[in-house]
Amino acid sequence: MTEPGARPRVFLVDDHHLFRSGVRAELGDAVEVVGEASEVEAAVEMILERRPEVVLLDVHLPGGGGRAVVARVAPTAPEVRFLALSVSDAADDVIDVIRAGARGYVTKTISGPELTSAIRRVAEGDAVFSPRLAGFVLDAFGTAAGLPDGGDPEVDQLTSREQEVLRLIARGYAYKAAARELNIGTRTVETHVSSVLRKLQLSNRHQLTRWATERRLI
């Protein structure tokens, strides 16, 4: 957990040098960048050595992709959190890295302040859903009537409340605005999003992968 106001320790993994330096410049003093890597092997080694709080992870990487980094770091260092960052909006890529264990997904066109706040949120243990990821998840789980709120979290279906939250995020609402809209606390919105993330990661139904493969676009 990061103390409010403290600078999260961040590690960058991206195979484009230009992009890494761009992100570094944008993040500025808001975070402490403890290192960067451009491919899977080096990334795993350095992350295990430096133990950052948040790893900004490119989905597409030489040597196995972002999911390989998550899969290899997670068993040894479960406290390291991953935020996936990608120009690819192919649904299967995104769903893949989330299911491997990343705590969120944002597109590379995200603005500097938004990225900083996403990093903070991930560092504090929350999930970060971009509108696009929310759309993917709604699409994958279906928008038909959801479970009653408070249903079994292990079930491969979203509750009505979770659907509402995801819909608002997909419509461009920040967590705070979504909370106001639903007359609930921001914390509750975060809880719902984290629970959706867990369902996404635990669900092993074939539909999810089949959906992702069929619909690798937006």
Partner: protein
């Protein structure tokens, strides 16, 4: 054509090509010529080595061929042992060093061939030693030449082979060679059958044995060759497909990405234009990469003419157009999809108007558009976080909102809601029930 006889007389002669690596051994002065060859350049080479007229040597060689076939064997031996003009080693030398030959395989094939031949000879299916051995030796020699040969030698062989059955094209030439081989096998088998029929019953069995022996031998000999040919063809096809794909990608990148990058460099002092162009290019490239070869998906034309087929595609396209026209960025998220009809086209048009309004009046740099195709209805939300407005205060001059959005939706059986307030941004919500659901 020539024979090896006169050549051996020149064993002691000196190197005729100073400046090249001197070769030791007897074949230093006579080389196969490159120009003016009939077949392998052997006769002309021998003639040049001895200062004779090539015609003379060729006539001598043909005479030797006619006299029991010795000329053919000698010619092939000469082709193998004499280096080509300008080459450092003969085909025989390069064959010895060639790693493609597996000695065990060679011995095995050789043994099988020899076995089959001796069997045939034993059963009486034989053309006579004077014919079979020269033909066999020449055949083996030609095979080695074919594998080792450079372009000139191959061309010569191709000419000869091409004359026998048909064309000169690589693949059909190979096929032609195969036809000859199979044809020979059939003829031999036919002779066997004939003999079997005219002789006693025991001869039938012998003839059958002999024929199957021949067929098996041929299969063993040519098997690896067929395999290799199959692999070569498959590889060629794969490479052709790959290079075609590469060319297509290069062409597309050139038409789109490189053009945009050039434009961006020229407009570097105008951030708004740069952002717009970069976003447009991003969308285009994205749809090209992830929507595969859907028609129209890769169109680099900013105003594509053919209509979009589905709600999601139509809203996405409309958003691109508004982005270009008004310099805002519009994020479109779609869930589910359905084919367009009249009513849904009205929804798309209303959504477009809402996006234009947001771009023109809200002052926000980003607009979010969310499309959901549910069981019962299609919903579109257009959201900005700009200045918002008081609907009652501006109702009269905002025809866009009243006519183009609310009115249009109602006329088609749907409805539109506007949620706004000063400082809260604006959200236009469009709902259209789906038919028969």
């Amino acid at each position: 054509m020539g024979s090896s006889g006169p050549v051996t007389d020149q064993m002691a002669s000196s190197d005729a090509h100073p400046g090249r690596t001197p070769r030791t051994g007897p074949w230093t002065r006579v080389t196969r010529v490159r120009d003016g060859r009939v077949l392998g350049g052997v006769c002309a080479g021998v003639a040049r080595g001895f200062g004779l007229d090539p015609i003379l040597v060729r006539i001598l060689a043909l005479a030797l061929v006619a006299a029991g076939g010795a000329g053919a064997v000698l010619y092939v031996v000469g082709w193998l042992l004499l280096p080509e003009e300008g080459a450092d080693e003969s085909l025989a030398q390069s064959a010895v060093r060639d790693r493609r030959y597996d000695p065990a395989e060679l011995v095995a094939v050789g043994a099988v061939v020899l076995g089959v031949l001796l069997l045939l000879r034993g059963t009486g299916l034989w053309f006579g030693d004077a014919v079979v051995w020269p033909v066999l030796l020449s055949g083996v020699g030609l095979a080695v030449i074919w594998r080792q040969a450079g372009d000139d030698d191959r061309a010569s062989l191709q000419r000869v082979v091409g004359r026998i059955p048909a064309s000169v094209d690589v693949r059909s030439r190979r096929a032609a060679l195969a036809r000859v081989v199979i044809g020979v096998a059939l003829v031999v088998g036919g002779v066997g059958a004939f003999l079997a029929a005219s002789d006693a019953f025991s001869a039938v069995r012998q003839g059958f044995l002999a024929t199957s022996g021949i067929v098996a031998g041929l299969a063993v000999i040519t098997g690896p060759w067929w395999l290799r040919m199959g692999r070569d063809l498959a590889r060629e096809r794969r490479e052709r497909i790959r290079s075609e794909e590469r060319a297509e990608v290069a062409a597309h990148l050139h038409d789109s990405v490189l053009q945009t990058l050039a434009l961006i460099q020229r407009n570097a002092d105008d951030p708004r234009t740069v952002v717009t162009m970069a976003r447009r290019q991003e969308r285009e490239l994205r749809s090209w990469l992830y929507q595969g070869d859907r028609p129209g998906a890769a169109a680099s034309d900013p105003a594509p003419s053919e209509p979009a087929a589905s709600v999601a595609a139509a809203v996405t396209r409309v958003a691109e157009e508004v982005e270009i026209d008004h310099g805002v960025s519009i994020d479109v998220v779609t869930v589910g999809d359905v084919a367009l009809d009249d009513r849904l086209e009205a929804v798309v048009a209303a959504a477009r108007e809402a996006m234009v309004n947001a771009a023109k009046w809200s002052g926000a740099a980003n607009v979010s558009v969310y499309v959901e195709v549910a069981e019962a209805e299609v919903k579109v939300f257009v959201r900005d976080w700009g200045c918002g407005f008081d609907p009652s205060a501006v109702a009269d001059d905002r025809h866009g909102l009243r006519e183009s959005i609310t009115g249009r939706m109602v006329r088609h059986g749907g409805h539109a809601d506007v949620r706004t307030g000063a400082g809260e941004g604006t959200e236009i919500q469009l709902r259209m029930p789906r038919d028969g659901r």
